[in-house]
Every structure is written in structure tokens, then in C-alpha cells.
């Protein structure tokens, strides 16, 4: 729905600029003016990539008419199939076959041809190409494949607004669009925003009061520092990484039995809390087992590459799945860490980006030397971890791996990476088929990103790790900085978080992205520092009030003229409900838990085999753990989570969709978790006092994280009186209203009052603002 409206706005803006292309043309939809200087990277390549490279790009097998347009040398060469003609003649559009064809309406001559199903270029795009050719048709290397550089901090119209470097870049862009940034958000909304962003939890009333009372210049910074030091910071930051790492508690595929990768998950939380530098964080996960004298912690980190699905289906062909696992690892590395779509080169050369099929298998070769098997037996012999695995005993956990939340004694096993003593050969697989090996390849990373210099890096996973965190690698820092930005603003500076290639969107603020990436590396890949930099910026601290003008010029808020206003991620919706009601159990880590879930979901979709055939709901504290600890059975992921757009963890995911559906409304109205929290909070408040307006105010502050307005108090108080009367008159049944959830009922408070206040609190939980980061 949000998108629909945004789309309309987007369409409206584009209509004004006399174009009708609204997908993916960042640089074109922006404003209406023809740029003075047409840039290949920003204006032309997006058009070529989308409309031409499919047949005239890097994929040699699909190339038509021997014409290749993604490389200048080939694009300027004489056409092989049309004597004396050239696709491009610098300065002369009318002599350039390319221009003649894209501007033609003759279906036998025009490009792209109708049978390609690619729509014709828009008049604006054609004009851009014309001007680019007139200006010399200069090619540039793809922006994301050149190393980022710090550019000078721009001058801005209002130098008082910026609080740090980020703001200069943002304001500069707003100046160009004649937009003014918003003032800082009010303290309560700001604290809610930063608290959810740094911990995934609402601020307590005590914190809010302290912040409201603190008039010192660095009051906000004090709050930020406080939040950054809580252990919940690690949980918050881990969540996104668990999506990338497709972390789950079962093996997936048909019988979908249990596994224990959660010690790896506990490590991720620990790593963020300990603020392990990102280069080290990656190195350990890619090749911790290959470091000299590898510690158990370094080995545990490699669980990252073992989180994907494993089949336990009887009768599979092991090699088919062993290859499938390599494909998953390669994809996760490409999408999650490099921000590239290298998986497209599994069956053929990449159609848009400079990755050949050989590049793909050279990359896959890094992962091809582990002791992993394609099949270790069916579900009847299933074990909680698969070879290679690591055993963690009690003394490990007591002495070094103290962050692992293991309660019982006995050993714990985790799937990790481990190399063979010999080298397993890797081949290009024809059409990506496991049983069609062709040319042999050696492990290497794509040259088009950064030459894999074998004098610097060994040809193994450790070499891949070194190459990844080499400061000359143009992608690693940019991609991560962008992901972190997305976590705070709901949208990356590059919108296509997982695709920095030719088909990805261009950055809205390229200089800012590069500045942040370089700054991040210069300061030791310090994640907490980056996070603090973002939340301290005036850009982040803006109020999210919008105006018709801002909605019209920038409906999607990609230029950041207002603060980010986004619905909470699925897990934090749950956390908000539990935290505000006081039910939340803040234990960190440990085996995943099984809270309330509608009956029959696992049972109706199971083969009946394995220990997860039936859902055995937990009791006591396990009912009130944070959302990130809810057990994820891959074939039937927790419904509330997926309905609120959580990743189903089937594959690496770098960005969640954002939807607004009636099913979400039904959850907030009827999920026992919400109802129980309403009851518990109502009774807790009534134990202290019975004055309705005061209780409503406290509940509102706990849930919405601000003081209610008089009008809000009035509406809620009226509702309370109305409900109380109905309960007293037995028009509504108080006992059955209160009979929800396993948390004991408090018999000391009045039943009718409890039920009436519970209904009011339910209503507050259902406010749009309650589950929104304001």
C-alpha cells in the first residue's frame, strides 16, 4: 500500500518530466533537467545495461551481431555485419548505428527489437544517448568496481544544520533539489527511534524521563553511548547478519530435522558486542579454521558457511547436493559480502557484469575443498551437526567461549568449515549441472573487482578472506556501510543492497557512500564507530514530519529531507510487546525457543519423520524470549515472523520487503502474545493504582514511547469507561477476556478493571505508531 502511493507519486513526478520509465532509473527520474555533462556511469550505462547488454554484453554465447557495448574498444570497432558502419562514432550521433536504431520506430530496424520483450527507450533516454555521443561517448569503469575515494566535504547553504560529515553530503543534495531538511525530532520520538535502532527494544520510562530532564548539549550522545553499551546492541546488530547467513534451527528440505547452529548465532551477538572489527569479523567467518593456531572461537565463526540447508532425503545423489551447497556458499558470499550477483554466472557468462562462467567456478573453488559430504544419511540417522564439525565441551565454554549460552552439561556440536588434506579439483560445470564438468579451474576471485594476486594471497579460503578485506577491494566496505545505512534509514544509499553491479541502482549519494566506506576502513573497520557516526548525524535525528511538497518531490525519502519512519522488523514487534508489558526475558543466546503458535502448523506439513514433526510449545521463561530466538523450522517458519516480512532464512537475504497486510492487523488483534501482554501490563498497573487516566498514560508511554496528547487520553479513557461498564453489567465477560496466556492471573486486582484496562492496552498495541519507528 505504501508502495502504491509512492508509486503514484513517482509516476506523477515522472509524468512531469515527460518520461514514462519509473523502474530503476535513479538518475533519470531525479529532477527533470538534462544534465550538462552526461555521465556514462550515471546516465548511460543504466540504459545500456537494462536494454542492450542482454545481447550485446559480456555473455559471449548470447552475443548478437558480434557487437559488444559494455567495453569501449568493441563498441567503437567497425561493425562486422554492416560494412562501413559503426555502433558509436564519438561526437556524431547521426553516424552512430546505435543512436539510429534506438531512436527508430521501424520494427525491423529498431533496438531493442520487439521480440526481446524489452520496452523501447523513452524519449528522454534517447536524448541522453544523443548528448552523450555528442560529448564524445566517453566510457567509464563501473563505479562500484573502482576503489572508493574520499571527496572534499561539500559546501552547503545552511552550515548550522550539519552535525557531522554525513550531513554536508545530504544537505548538498537537498540544496540541489531545493528541499530543506527537517528540524530535530522531539526528544521522545528521537529516543524511541535510536533505542529501537541500537537495541531493538523500546526505551524504558526511566530512560525517557532522564533524557527529557537532561538539558545538556550532549544529552543525546549520552543516551547513544548508553545504548551502544547494552548487550542488546549485539542482538540488534546480529539480526541482519542472521538474514545474510540464512541462520535457522533445522536442516530444511523435506524431513527438516533439528540442528544446533545456535552457538554460531551466540558468537555473532558476542562479536558485535565486543565490536570485533569488520575485517576480522569476515576473516574469521570465511577462513577462521585456516588461521595459524586457530582458536575454537575462530573455528566457530566459520559456521557462517554451514548454515544453509542440508538434505536428508533418502535416495538423493550425494554429489548433486554437495554441488548445491557450494552454489549456496558462493551465492551467500557474493550477495551478502560482495554485493554482486555472481550466481548469474553459474550456467553462462554473466549477462551484465564482467563475470565469466569461469570466474564463477574459480570463486566456487574456494569452498570446494572442505570435508563436507553431499549426504550423510537420511533423517533416521540425523545428527545435530554434520561433518566437518566441532565439539564444544563444558570447559571450552567455561574458559574461553563464555558467550555460548549452554545450560545443560554434555557436549555440543556445531557444523564448521574444515579443509581436506589434498586438493579437490574444480571444474566449470556445463550449464551449471553437477554431472557436466568441463574445463578445470583454480581458486581465484574476479579480476574485474580486484586482481587476485597469488603472490599476496594463497589460493584457498584464507586467500579469499585476505582478498575480501584488502583495502583495495572496492566493494567490501561499501557494501557493508550500505547495509548498515539501510538498517537505520530503511533504504540503502544503494537501494539494491545485494546488487552493486550494472543492473543495480546507482547510489543516491555516491560521494557520501564512498566517504563513509573509506572512513570506515581508515578507522580500523570499527562497526560501533560507524553506527555512532550515523545516529549522531543531523540527517538521522530529523523529525519525520512530511509535507505535500516533500511527498511530491521525494516520496520515497531517498534524499533524506525528513527522518526515517519505518515499521519495526518482525522480531522487534514481538520484542516491543514483551518489553513494554514487562514480560520480556532478556537472556541472551542459547537454544531457540518455541513460544505460542497456532496448533497444527507443523503437524499438517510434515512427513511425520524427525523430531520436528510436532510442535512442542515451551513454557515459562521460554515463552517470553526475544523474537530472534524463536525456533526457525525452515519448511514451516514461524508464521507471525514471515507475515511481518522476516526472512524465511531459505537463502541469503540482504533486505526484507516491507508490506502492510490485513494478516498483520489480525495478528495484532488476536495473537495470544499481544493479548497476554495486555493483560499482564493492565494488572501490573492496577497493582500500583486504579486511576484510569494515569494508568492509560503509563501504558501509552511504555508502548508508544511518548506522552499521549489530551485528545488521545480522552479517546482512550472514554473507551475504558465504556468497556468497564460493559464488564460490570456482564455485557462482556471479564473472566474469559482475561483467560489468555500462561502467565499467572493476579487475583488481587479487580477483574472488571483488569479486563477494561486490558482492552485499552490492546488498542494501544494496535496503533500504527506503536509498531513504527518514529
Amino acid at each position: 500500500m505504501k508502495y502504491k502511493i509512492l508509486f503514484l507519486i513517482c509516476l506523477a513526478v515522472t509524468a512531469l518530466t515527460v518520461t514514462n520509465s519509473c523502474n530503476n532509473s535513479e538518475a533519470l527520474a531525479e529532477g527533470s533537467a538534462m544534465p550538462d555533462s552526461v555521465s556514462y556511469n550515471f546516465n548511460i550505462r543504466p540504459i545500456f545495461s537494462d536494454k542492450c547488454f542482454k545481447c550485446h554484453g559480456p555473455d559471449a554465447s548470447k552475443r548478437e551481431a558480434h557487437l559488444r557495448l559494455d567495453i569501449a574498444d568493441s563498441a567503437f570497432a567497425a561493425l562486422k555485419e554492416t560494412k562501413g558502419a559503426f555502433a558509436l562514432v564519438a561526437g556524431k550521433p547521426d553516424a552512430s548505428e546505435l543512436y539510429k536504431r534506438v531512436s527508430s520506430t521501424d520494427t525491423s530496424f529498431m533496438m531493442p527489437p520487439p521480440e526481446s520483450h524489452l520496452s523501447a527507450l523513452t524519449p528522454f533516454e534517447i536524448k541522453l544517448i544523443k548528448k552523450w555521443i555528442e560529448q564524445g561517448a566517453k566510457y567509464e569503469k563501473h563505479w562500484a568496481f573502482t576503489a572508493p575515494k574520499k571527496s572534499a566535504i561539500p559546501e552547503v547553504s545552511d552550515a548550522k544544520w550539519p552535525k557531522n560529515e554525513i550531513d554536508f553530503f545530504v544537505e548538498d543534495k537537498l540544496d540541489q533539489l531545493s528541499l530543506k531538511p527537517n528540524e530535530e525530532a522531539d526528544k521522545e520520538r528521537l529516543l524511541k527511534r535510536v533505542s529501537f535502532d541500537l537495541t531493538g527494544l523500546p526505551p524504558t520510562i526511566k530512560m525517557t524521563d532522564k533524557f527529557l530532564a537532561d538539558n545538556s548539549a550532549n544529552a543525546y550522545e549520552k543516551m547513544v553511548d548508553l545504548l551502544l553499551q547494552t548487550p542488546q546492541y549485539g542482538e540488534k546488530m546480529a539480526l541482519h547478519w542472521l538474514d545474510i547467513a540464512r541462520y535457522a534451527d533445522s536442516y530444511g528440505y523435506q524431513d527438516d530435522n533439528i540442528r544446533t547452529q545456535w552457538p554460531w548465532r551466540d558468537w555473532v551477538i558476542h562479536a558485535f558486542n565486543k565490536n570485533i572489527p569488520y575485517d576480522q569479523f569476515l576473516t574469521w567467518q570465511i577462513a577462521g579454521d585456516m588461521l595459524p593456531n586457530a582458536t575454537k572461537e575462530e573455528m566457530l565463526a566459520t559456521g557462517f558457511f554451514r548454515n544453509h540447508k542440508y538434505t536428508e532425503e533418502g535416495g538423493v545423489i550425494p554429489e548433486e547436493y554437495r554441488v548445491e551447497y557450494l552454489i549456496d556458499k558462493t551465492k551467500t558470499y557474493g550477495k551478502g559480502i560482495m554485493g554482486i550477483t555472481i550466481e548469474c554466472a553459474q550456467c553462462h557468462d554473466h549477462k551484465y557484469d564482467p563475470f565469466s562462467q569461469k570466474d564463477y567456478y574459480s570463486m566456487l573453488a574456494f569452498f570446494n575443498n572442505t570435508k563436507e559430504a553431499g549426504f550423510e544419511g537420511d533423517v533416521s540417522t540425523s545428527k545435530p551437526a554434520k561433518t566437518p564439525l566441532m565439539t564444544l565441551n563444558d570447559s571450552d565454554i567455561k574458559r574461553t567461549l563464555t558467550f555460548i549460552n549452554k545450560k545443560d552439561t554434555g557436549s555440543l556440536t556445531v557444523s564448521v568449515m574444515g579443509e581436506l588434506d589434498t586438493v579437490r579439483k574444480t571444474y566449470v560445470l556445463n550449464r551449471g549441472r553437477y554431472d557436466s564438468p568441463t574445463e578445470e579451474v583454480a581458486p581465484a576471485a574476479p579480476k574485474s573487482i580486484l586482481n587476485f594476486d597469488t603472490t599476496k594471497y594463497p589460493r584457498n579460503r584464507l586467500g579469499l578472506a585476505m582478498w575480501t578485506v584488502d583495502k583495495n577491494n572496492p566493494l567490501t566496505a561499501r557494501v557493508f556501510v550500505n547495509q548498515v545505512w539501510q538498517e537505520f534509514f530503511g533504504r540503502g544509499l544503494v537501494k539494491t543492497t545485494g546488487d552493486f553491479g550494472m543492473q543495480g541502482e546507482l547510489p543516491t549519494h555516491p560521494e557520501l557512500l564512498d566517504w563513509l566506506a573509506v572512513d570506515f576502513m581508515e578507522h580500523g573497520w570499527d562497526i560501533k564507530r560507524l553506527v555512532k557516526q550515523i545516529v549522531m548525524s543531523a540527517t538521522y535525528r530529523q523529525s519525520d514530519i512530511t509535507s505535500p511538497e516533500k511527498l511530491e518531490v521525494d516520496g520515497e525519502n531517498k534524499y533524506l529531507s525528513r527522518g526515517p519512519r519505518n515499521r519495526l522488523p518482525a522480531e522487534f514487534v514481538r520484542d516491543m510487546v514483551l518489553a513494554s508489558s514487562g514480560l520480556l526475558v532478556t537472556t541472551i543466546g542459547g537454544p531457540s525457543v518455541k513460544p505460542y503458535q497456532p496448533p497444527g502448523l507443523w503437524e499438517s506439513a510434515t512427513s511425520g519423520r524427525g523430531v520436528l514433526a510436532t510442535y512442542k510449545q515451551d513454557h515459562g521463561d521460554s515463552l517470553y524470549r526475544r523474537g530472534m530466538y524463536t525456533f526457525i523450522k525452515l519448511t514451516v517458519p514461524p508464521p507471525v515472523m514471515t507475515m511481518f516480512d522476516a526472512s524465511n532464512r531459505d537463502q541469503c537475504e540482504v533486505k526484507r520487503s516491507k508490506t502492510n497486510t490485513p494478516l498483520q492487523a489480525l495478528i495484532m488483534l488476536n495473537d495470544p502474545t499481544v493479548l497476554e501482554a495486555s493483560r499482564v501490563l493492565a494488572q501490573k498497573l492496577l497493582m500500583q493504582q486504579t486511576q484510569p487516566a494515569a494508568n492509560i498514560t503509563t501504558a501509552f508511554r511504555l508502548i508508544v514511547c511518548r506522552h499521549p496528547t489530551d485528545k488521545e487520553i480522552k479517546i482512550l479513557s472514554d473507551y475504558y469507561s465504556d468497556q468497564l461498564l460493559k464488564f460490570q453489567q456482564k455485557k462482556l465477560n471479564a473472566e474469559s477476556t482475561l483467560a489468555v496466556g500462561e502467565y499467572p492471573l493476579n487475583q488481587k486486582v479487580d477483574t472488571n478493571q483488569s479486563a477494561a484496562l486490558m482492552k485499552v492496552i490492546e488498542m494501544i498495541y494496535n496503533l500504527e505508531e506503536s509498531i513504527t519507528k518514529t
Binding site: 509524468a15 545423489i317 506439513a605 502492510n660 490485513p662 492487523a665
Partner: protein, 481 residues
């Protein structure tokens, strides 16, 4: 009052958008495309506004997925040769070294197992149908039996995923998600894509909610699981103590509060949220009406069989599928487990057919007598077929069959399908002799019947335009009326 003001504001905004649009694009056409379903979709609805691509033959789909893979050789593909050569080894000239699953790859012999069931010819097409499916045989003139389906996967999970999403792995959108993405919803109170699960008496292989996942499409397009029990949709029911009037009362106050916030912040998401609560409220009334099977007349119960009144059975789901379809649900996806006959196939399949035969045929008859069959496409079939040779020990009256992806039978009915028999397998029922239909071809054909060009129904994700049919697939013209 507050609500009216609120609505008014929304209308104003809508008008404002329209007036802006009219600057560049013919406002009348676009307006009529966008405004009616302003509340039902996401941007792609509008981007895909040229849909359907051509006049559809079918408006809705009911897909009776037979999970586990029914044996085509015991149901539809009659091969007397296998009975003649009972117990003899499958000739290598036929097998041609094709890959086998790990379950029979190490078998020393591949003894041919002719069916123990009787076959007869029915209807105008004189289609061969096994004695196990008397009800199906009675509606044979409405069916198009495709004998030459083939797939690439030889194990359940990838094969099922391939059928449902067009890829063996990869978290791609389900068929139902693609169709609802392309065509939207036909009604305001029910989801466009509903899923129903049942389990037969035979060997079950499990289903997975990823099969009805939206993949990279918005989660708006994911299948919504329905049941005919007391809680037909997750979280639909109000708590016992709350009735519909209370709910209405609460929602009105809630809208009032949300409006306060909208006035201050102007985020259209706030109004959208209110609309979603309204839709949820309408679903609370509409869904129980549709899922209540107890009001069905005796004649209907008789047609589907008494099991149709037991929630969660295949028969109940077939009846529910008809009701959902009747109420404008675009895609109803059933999964019925239990067809995986690796051993004791003759006795297992008898039980499966008892569960599935009558209700499947009843659905066809029921749709037909309501005049709905013409525009409802019904599909019946599994993820692959079963081998002509025996898995395990072959005796005179008992055998098992392993997975066989190289040829198998499914049927389609209604919705623009030409009744009859399509395709031929060889006399061993091992390879295709004529007119192969790949899974991608099947998808292309189904989309075509819905008025969608499978090459044009695309979604751009990770730099690439994805299709249900990946990079291949041809419409099978021979099965279209």
C-alpha cells in the same frame, strides 16, 4: 464522523495524484486501472498494468497437487507390455543409463512390474483409466490427460519445488504468487492465493510453506493457508469474549487515534494501516461464511463423499476449494500427501485413490453444474512419476516403484483446456514417444490460459528479470481448446 473526514482526506489525495498524472498520461485509462484496487496491491500492479496480456480462457485455478508422486502406470498410462514381460529386466536399450535415485541405483536388476489393476477405456476419447479411479473415469470427457509430462528432478523436495516455483532451489515465487501478482485479486474480502493441506493414508513426504512463498515478490502475494476447521485462517478469530460489535467499536476508536497521528505526520502509511484493519474486519465475516461447509445441501455432501464434512480431509478441501473459487479466489492450491509408493504400492495406492478419486471427480461435476468449469482451470497431478521396474522384491501381486521423472501423467480440466489424451509414452512407459511436456511448458500453458504471456510476466530482482518459466518453456497448443 472522524472516519468520514479521514476518508475524505484520502479521496482528496487520490484526486490530487490523478490530476498530476493527467499532465503526462491519459488520465482516464490510468485512473480506471489504478483507483479501483488502490487498496489491494503494490507498485507492480500498476507497472504491470497491461494485464492480462490477452483474453484469458480461465479466470481461476484450482490445483489439486498429489504430493509424493502417484503411479501413472497404475492409474492412467496403461502398458500391457509390462504385464507380458512381468519380472524381466528393463532392457538397457530403453533405460540408456539414465540416472536413478540412491534408492535403486545399486539394484542389480530392474524387473519390470506390470500393474495388477484392471484398465478400461472410457468416454469419447477412449482414454484408458484404471479400476482404482471409477469416479474420475466417469468425468473423463471433461479431462485432458497429459501422459507425457517430464521433469528434471528425481527427489521429492526439488521436484515439488520445481513444479511450484519453476526452479528446484532458490526461494522463487510460487505459481499462485505469480498469478496473483499478474492478475491481482477478484474480490475485496479474501486473499487472491489460498492454500489447503491434507494427508492421505499412504507414505507421506511433507510439504513446506516455502512452496506457497512469495519468494522475492512482496509478501502481499504469499499464499494464505486456509482450513475448514474452526480457525480457518491464522489469527482470524477474535478472542471468545469479543464479538463483532465490540470489534467494530474498537476499530472505530483506533481509526480515530491513528488519524490524530496522520494529521501531524502526514505519512500515507498511516492511512494504509487503517485500510488494512478494515480489510481484516471484512475477512472476519467473509472467511467463516466461505469455510463453513455444514450448510452444504445433502446432494453436495453425497457427491463429494461423507469425508467432506471432516475438516482437513482431501474431500473437505475439494469442497472448500470450490467455495473459495466461487467467491473469487484467484488461485486455490491444494496439497494431498501420501502417494510415495516405494513399497507395497498396490495396497497403498488403493487407499490413496479411496481418498482422492471421488472428491476430485465431484469437484469437476460440481463446477460444471454451477457453470463455473469453463472459467476455472483444475489441475491434478504429482511432482514426477514412478518407475516401470520394481523397487525391492517383486512378487506376483506386490511391488514398489521408485521415482521416475522421464514421463508421467497429470490431468487438467475446464478453463480453456481441450479434453482428450495428449502425448504418448513408449510401450515400456519409460520414455516419451511423442509430444513431451516439460514443467516449464506446463507453466507457460497454465499462464497462457490465464491470459498471461509467460515471457512477459517478469519481476526484476537482483539485476535480472525473473519469470516463472525461467529462460524456457513453450505453450502447449495441443491441449488448449
Amino acid at each position: 464522523m472522524q472516519k468520514e473526514v479521514f476518508e475524505h482526506g484520502l479521496n482528496l489525495n487520490r484526486r490530487k495524484f490523478l490530476s498530476r498524472l493527467s499532465l503526462g498520461i491519459g488520465s482516464v485509462a490510468l485512473g480506471s486501472l489504478l483507483i479501483p484496487d488502490l487498496f489491494s496491491g503494490s507498485p507492480e500492479d500498476a507497472i504491470m498494468s497491461g494485464l492480462p496480456h490477452f483474453a484469458p480462457k480461465a479466470k481461476r485455478i484450482i490445483y489439486l497437487f498429489q504430493n509424493g508422486a502417484p503411479s501413472q502406470l497404475d492409474l492412467f498410462d496403461y502398458k500391457p507390455k509390462l504385464q507380458e514381460m512381468f519380472g524381466q529386466d528393463l532392457p538397457e536399450s530403453i533405460r540408456m543409463g539414465q540416472r536413478l535415485t540412491g534408492m535403486t541405483a545399486n539394484q542389480k536388476k530392474f524387473p519390470l512390474a506390470g500393474t495388477v489393476f484392471k484398465f478400461d477405456q472410457y468416454g469419447q476419447s477412449r482414454a484408458w483409466i484404471s479400476e482404482l479411479l471409477p469416479h474420475t473415469a466417469s468425468v473423463v470427457d471433461d479431462l485432458c490427460i497429459i501422459k507425457t509430462m517430464f521433469t528434471e528432478a528425481i527427489n521429492h523436495d526439488p521436484a515439488l519445488t520445481f513444479f511450484q516455483t519453476g526452479a528446484q532451489v532458490g526461494n522463487r515465487p510460487s505459481m499462485g504468487s505469480w498469478v496473483s501478482y499478474g492478475l491481482g485479486t477478484e474480490n475485496k474480502n479474501l486473499p487472491a492465493f489460498c492454500v489447503l493441506l491434507s494427508k492421505g493414508k499412504g507414505n507421506g513426504q511433507g510439504v513446506y510453506s516455502k512452496l506457497w512463498s512469495n519468494g522475492f515478490l512482496d509478501s502481499f502475494y504469499q499464499g494464505v493457508q486456509f482450513s475448514s476447521g474452526e480457525n480457518p485462517v491464522l489469527y482470524l478469530n477474535n478472542p471468545d469474549a469479543i464479538n463483532s460489535t465490540d470489534r467494530r467499536n474498537m476499530l472505530d476508536k483506533l481509526a480515530e487515534l491513528n488519524d490524530e497521528n496522520y494529521k501531524e505526520f502526514g505519512d500515507p502509511e498511516i492511512t494504509a494501516k487503517v485500510q488494512q484493519y478494515e480489510l481484516a474486519y471484512r475477512m472476519q465475516t467473509a472467511v467463516p461464511e466461505v469455510t463453513d461447509l455444514n450448510k452444504e445441501p445433502e446432494s453436495i455432501v453425497k457427491m463429494y463423499g461423507p469425508e467432506c464434512l471432516i475438516p482437513g480431509t482431501f474431500a473437505a478441501n475439494c469442497l472448500l476449494a470450490r467455495k473459495l473459487s466461487e467467491n473469487g479466489v484467484r488461485f486455490v492450491q491444494l496439497y494431498h500427501q501420501g502417494w510415495d509408493g516405494h513399497d507395497n504400492l498396490p495396497s497403498q495406492i488403493k487407499g490413496q485413490c479411496m481418498d482422492a478419486d471421488q472428491a476430485s471427480a465431484a469437484l469437476i461435476t460440481d463446477l460444471k453444474q454451477r457453470g463455473m468449469l469453463d472459467e476455472t482451470l483444475v489441475i491434478w497431478g504429482g511432482e514426477f512419476g514412478r518407475t516401470n521396474y520394481c523397487q525391492g522384491t517383486l512378487t506376483k501381486d506386490n511391488y514398489g516403484r521408485d521415482h521416475h521423472p522421464r514421463c508421467f501423467s497429470i490431468w487438467m480440466a475446464g478453463g480453456g483446456v481441450k479434453p482428450g489424451v495428449y502425448g504418448e509414452t513408449d510401450e515400456f512407459g519409460y520414455n516419451i514417444a511423442k509430444d513431451p511436456v516439460h514443467v516449464h511448458d506446463f507453466h507457460a500453458t497454465v499462464l497462457n490460459l490465464m491470459g498471461l504471456d509467460h515471457e512477459k510476466l517478469t519481476y526484476k530482482h537482483q539485476g535480472r528479470r525473473y519469470r516463472l518459466t525461467d529462460v524456457s518453456g513453450n505453450v502447449v497448443k495441443g491441449i488448449i481448446a
